[in-house]
């Protein structure tokens, strides 16, 4: 452990905006991808269910 305090940790020896800008973008990008993936799978499932409903109706 080489940080005297949390303030010192967040300051990153004066490079805060570079370090946190890099890490922040990674977090943001991965979170966005996970949300988009979840939404895409939900949409795909809905579409398959609709297609199923539709084909059942046609069979009747």
């Amino acid at each position: 452990m080489h940080w005297a305090s949390w303030q010192e940790f967040w300051a990153m020896g004066g490079a805060a905006r570079y370090v946190w800008g890099a890490y922040g973008m990674v977090v943001l990008a991965l979170a966005a991808e996970m949300m988009l993936l979840r939404a895409r799978l939900r949409r795909a499932r809905e579409a398959a269910r609709r297609a199923s409903h539709w084909s059942n109706k046609e069979a009747e």
Binding site: Y18, A29, R38, A44, S52
Partner: protein
């Protein structure tokens, strides 16, 4: 209208190449890869910020390395795997191979973008510029464009199988870019060096830094697998929504 499209595969790849099997297996595997990624990322970040020492040349800003290098490695590695599956899809006309290739492209593009973004934020304090038309940076930008081109070309063609083939050819041609990225720092006089030099300077430092970097790489790797599997499932359902198994799976 229950079209049965599950045909036996021509070349007898193992059974998870069958869409329903793959859909189910991937659904079970994703939480494992996801948790593994989270645990590895937690360990990696701890090592990166609390164990790895301050770099005596660059100070704290060098800590960007722990995401920059994993993202860059994954961007290249995913491209190689994507091109492999795309090529197999063309050669053997196996649908699943092409779906896997499609599933990897956005995650690979994201990794390439993150490599460039984190590189820019590191380049500014280290070299005084966010961007330079340096060989390694330029070839990594081309890698991003290849991913984007693959996705755009695939999206532009309505018939998925024709789209698979066209985009697959692009993916295969783009493979020449990988050795260019890898060897760019040797072939051209490059700005891109710096950090790797300090890694070998002090052996005790090298160990913890390298450890943190490898753990973060594994975390990125597991994340990429989870994301690609999740996307492959969605693509599969989208393409097979008129089949009985997909409609059944969507109800579960």
């Amino acid at each position: 209208m229950q079209a049965e499209t599950i045909r036996p595969l021509k070349f007898g790849l193992h059974r998870f190449a069958a869409p329903p099997e793959f859909y189910r297996l991937a659904g079970r595997l994703i939480p494992w890869f996801g948790s593994l990624a989270a645990v590895l990322a937690a360990c990696g970040l701890y090592l990166a910020f609390f164990v790895a020492p301050t770099d005596f040349q660059q100070g704290e800003v060098y800590r960007i390395i722990f995401i920059h290098v994993p993202a860059a490695w994954m961007a290249m590695f995913i491209y190689a795997v994507m091109a492999f599956w795309a090529g197999l899809g063309i050669a053997f006309n196996t649908r699943m191979s092409s779906i896997w290739a499609c599933a990897m492209a956005p995650t690979g593009a994201l990794m390439a973008f993150l490599a460039l973004w984190t590189g820019a934020l590191w380049g500014r304090p280290a070299w005084g510029a966010y961007w330079a038309w340096d060989a390694r940076m330029t070839s990594t930008l081309i890698l991003l464009f290849l991913y984007v081109g693959f996705m755009a070309l695939h999206g532009a063609i309505d018939d998925p199988r024709r789209a698979d083939r066209a985009a697959g050819v692009l993916a295969l041609v783009g493979v020449v870019n990988l050795p260019i990225i890898y060897f760019s720092v040797q072939w051209w006089n490059s700005l891109h060096q710096g950090a790797s030099i300090s890694l070998t300077r002090a052996p005790t430092m090298a160990a913890t830094m390298l450890e943190a970097m490898l753990v973060m790489t594994l975390a990125f790797w597991m994340y990429s697998i989870a994301a690609s599997l999740a996307r492959a499932r969605a693509i599969l359902l989208e393409r097979e929504k008129r089949t009985g198994w997909a409609q059944q799976a969507a109800l579960e």
